[in-house]
Structures are given as C-alpha cells and as structure tokens.
C-alpha cells in the first residue's frame, strides 16, 4: 500500500524539475520539454487525486491536458521554427531583442 501522498510528491518533483529545467536550460526546445515535464507532473496529480476521490473526472482531465499539450507542442514548435528562421539560434539567452 502506497500512501497517495507519495504519488503527489512524485508529481511535485516532476513539476519542480520542469520548472528548474525552464530556468536553467538554454536550448529553447529543451525548455519546451521542461514544460511538458511540468504538465506530466500535473497529470500524475490528477490521476492520483482521481484515485483518491474515486472520481473518474480526474482521469478525464488528463486527456484534456494531453490534447492541450499536443496543441501547444504543435504551435510551440512552429514558433520555435519561426524564431530559428529569423535569429538562427536556439539559445534562449540570445533571443533578447526586446528588452528594457
């Protein structure tokens, strides 16, 4: 028997890893992956809470999150391509035309 909170902590760890990835990674694609990681962490929470409340809606949410993630991925990667076209770099530290 595993306490539900373990799952939650795991999801939290994933989420935090995602956040950290966003903060420390320089490659835009990797950063984007970090976001996916965060979403995955959230998904785990949903599923765990679904189990906790025994409410299936929690699982349904996960599908929606996946759809959103997919949509985001499509748009996001397109944006990354667009940026790469204009800037020819994937290093986020060099994408700083707009500032101050």
């Amino acid at each position: 028997m595993v306490p539900l909170s373990y799952y939650l902590v795991l999801s939290g760890i994933l989420f935090v890893c995602g956040v950290l990835g966003f903060l420390i990674k320089r490659n835009i694609i990797t950063i984007f992956m970090s976001i996916e990681l965060m979403l995955n962490g959230v998904n785990l929470s949903f599923v765990a809470f679904a189990a906790h409340w025994h409410a299936l809606s929690g699982q349904v949410f996960v599908f929606f999150v996946m759809v959103v993630a997919a949509a985001e991925a499509a748009v996001g990667l397109a944006i990354i391509i667009a940026v790469y076209r204009t800037r020819e770099t994937l290093n986020v530290d060099q994408v700083n035309l707009l500032k101050l």
Partner: protein, 514 residues
Amino acid sequence: MLPMTTVTAFSHLLPGLLAQAQTFQPPQLADYMRILPELVLSVFGMLIMVVDPLLDEDSSHQSLGTIALIGTFTALAATFCMAHYPGTAFYNMVRVEGFSVFFHFLVIAIAAVAILSSFEYLKVQRIRAGEYYALILLGTVGMCLMSSAIELVLIFIALEISSISTYVLAGFRRRDASSSEASLKYFLLGSFATAFFLYGVALMFGATGSTNSDAISQVLRSGNVPVLAYVATALMFVGLGFKVSSAPFHVWAPDVYEGAPAPIVGLMSTGPKAAAFAVLLRVMFEANAPGRFWLIWVSAALSMTLGNLGALVQDNVKRLLAYSSIAHAGYLLVAFAAQPELGTSAAMFYTAAYAAMNVGAFAVVSHFANAGEKYVTLDDYAGLGRRSPVLAATFAFFLMSLIGIPITGGFFAKFYVLTAALKSDLVGLAIILVLNSAVGAYYYLRIIVMMYMREPRGEVPVPRVPTAAALAIAVCVLLTFYFGVLPGRVLDYTGQSARQLVTDTAAPPASSAP
C-alpha cells in the same frame, strides 16, 4: 479540417453514440442557446478559413475582414439572445448570467474593434488575412467561454484557446524578428504559467474533489479549508496573475507588447485580459478562494508601482502602453481586494472602460505605425497635433482617459475602484492607487506633450486615416466618452450582475439545465 471539426462538434448526434448514451439526456436547444455566441464565432471562423483559399491575396483582406466583422456582429446579436436564457448548460459546464453576458459582450466588442482596426494594418504590414481573422474569431470563442465557464477544466481549455491564438497572433509580423521573439516569449512563459494554473486546478481538485466552481465554493464555505486549497489558490493565482500581467508575473508583457502587431496588442491587452479577470473574479469571489486578500493587496500595489515606474522612461509607445497596462491591471486588482460585490462591479466596469480606451489607443498606434511598425517611438509622435489634429486629439483623449481625467471612462473606472476600496476600508491601497495615478499621469503626459508641444519631424509620414480604422477609433472614443459621462446604465448592470454572482454562490448552486 472543416469536416473533422463538424464531426466532433456534433458527435453526439451520431447514432452509435446515441445508442450508448440513451440513458443520458442529450443537450437541448437551451443549452445551445447558452453558447450561441461561441457557436456563431466558431462558424464564422471556419467560414473564413473556407473562403480564404477561394480569394486571391489582394482582395481577400477586405472581404475576409468584412466576414469577420459580420461574425462579431452576429455574435453580439447572439449574445443578446443568450442573455434571455440564464442558467447553466451542458451539465453544469457554463452558466449564463449577467456576469458572463457582460464579458461576452465586452470580449466580442473588443474583437470587433480589433478587426476593424486591422483592415488597413494587414495591408500595410503585408500579413495574410485568412488565418489572422480566423484566429481572432476562434480566440474570441475561448475568451467568451472563459467568462461563462464554471468548470475549471473548461476554463483551462478556454484559457488555452485564447492563449494559443494570441501566441500565434503575436508572431504574425513574420518578417520581423522581434515579432517572432515576442511570440516565443509569450508562448513559453504562457505555457509555463498555464502549467502553474493547471497544477493549481489539480490541487484544488484534490482538496475539494471537484472542479466545478459552485461545488468548490460550497466545500470551501463549509469551513475547515484544507491547506491544499490554499496552495491551489496560490498556484492558480500565479497562472492567472500571469495572464492579467499583474506583478510579479508581469515580466512578459512589455516585451510581447512591443514585438506583437499593434492591433493584436490592443486585443490581447484587453480581450484575454478581461477574460482572465473574469476567471479571476470567478475563482476569487465565486469560488471563494481562501486567503486571497493580502495576495491581491500586495500584487495590486506591486503592479501599480512597477508598471508606472517602468513606464516613466520608455521611449517606445507600445512598450510604454504595455507598462501602463501592467499598472492598470494593478488598479483593477484593487477592486479584487474590496468587498466581493462592490469589487466585482467595479472590476467589471473597469475592464470595460479600460478596453474602450486601450483598444482605441492601440488602434491609433497601429494606424500610425506604418509598414514594419517603423514609427512607434515617442519621437515619431512629435508634432502629431499639428500634422494630424483629429488623430492626435483622439489619441490624447484616450491618454487622458488612461490618466483618469473626468469625462472619460478611465476616470469613472478608477473612481469606482477607489470607491469600492474606500467602502471596504482599504485606505492604504487607495492611497497607493492615488499616488500611482499621479505618477502615471506623467508618462501619458509625455506623449501628449510630444504630440502638441514639440515641433513635428519631417520624415515621419502621416497616412490618411482609412474608414475602417476611423470607425474603430470613433467607436472607442464614443464608448470612452459614454463611460465617462453616463456610466449609470453600465454601472447598474455591473452592480446587478455582481450581486447576482455573489449571492448566487452564497446560495446552493443552481440546478443544471432546465
């Protein structure tokens, strides 16, 4: 694309599924009436995409824009229809009430004006019109849903719809590196924030076992609020705070506003923001989120201060207005710290007034920006009062409204917020607001000073104002003026809906579809 969407949209009519779902009551006409504006907008959005390939590049701007405009007007009409069907729909997913009708109306009107002000802009900037208008319309669907959704998941999806469409729209000036950079920043940070929001939703679900705002509010009102709910509120606040660009989650706004196409900035600084505020109102007031007071207090104070201070030294008008919008988000948040009923009413009015003046201001900016948005610095506005008196006068009018000078909507907006704050004994916040508006006056004044008190620079062209843009600006002027002189009716309406919103949730949740 069209067939697929149609299939999904009407999937419940498929016989196989019907057989399985026969124990369930299918959605009825009233349910559809309650999402009529969304339906209309989606249909017109798809219509544009269908028509787009049939038209050649040159003539498409005008006709597609007209279709989009008709779409928004139809949606406005639909909103009127919708208003006659108060209540929840689709199994407690959305609720039509004064509050949501108000925001529907507002968001659609914003979209309409944004479309109007885009007519010429698209041509000048050589932007493809089909996707542009379609994205605006479909994005509006998301914004509309945000205001009426009472289910966190639906809110999340609606939020994503509006966000993704604006991410894309922000990058539409594709010849310009700054535009795609804006798009990227907006997208990455937006997704980042969305993840926070989503995590908050998950925790709220965990804390209350439901994602319906009514249900949540009931649980939270029953006392003994779990700590998890607090954390959930915090996370949701981070996500929503990002969307409304309140400090310290405002960092994206200046960059994105600077890079994005001007009409889109007008749209996204008001439309999604208004919708996000609607969500925030729902989450904070209707769902009765715990421990929100100081959170909002500090965030409001920070937003006002950082926004105004940041704007002081800006030389790019778009960027300046971006900072200003941060500050205005702060003013708006002051209302959130007030008593629910007063605060909601004041916040609703504020969003409307702010939308009118800010969209108008950006309409002027986008008209004046010229190809490649070359002329957006303060110096380019020198002597505008002499070269283009009418345009300058309207811009000055919007700026005065943003300052909060009487007879403009901005004044009453600020005024109601202050009243609400003072009635709730938020003297400290009121004073911060007052001081900030004084500081804020300075940088708006800089633009006015530039326009009227400096000699014009020769090389900056002043294009003739096309009809569509003129119309857009005129509408904004009239509305700003209307809000500034006769705010009574609007305010009655917002007051009523606010009361409804607050008392409704205090009572047991309304029963689902009639």
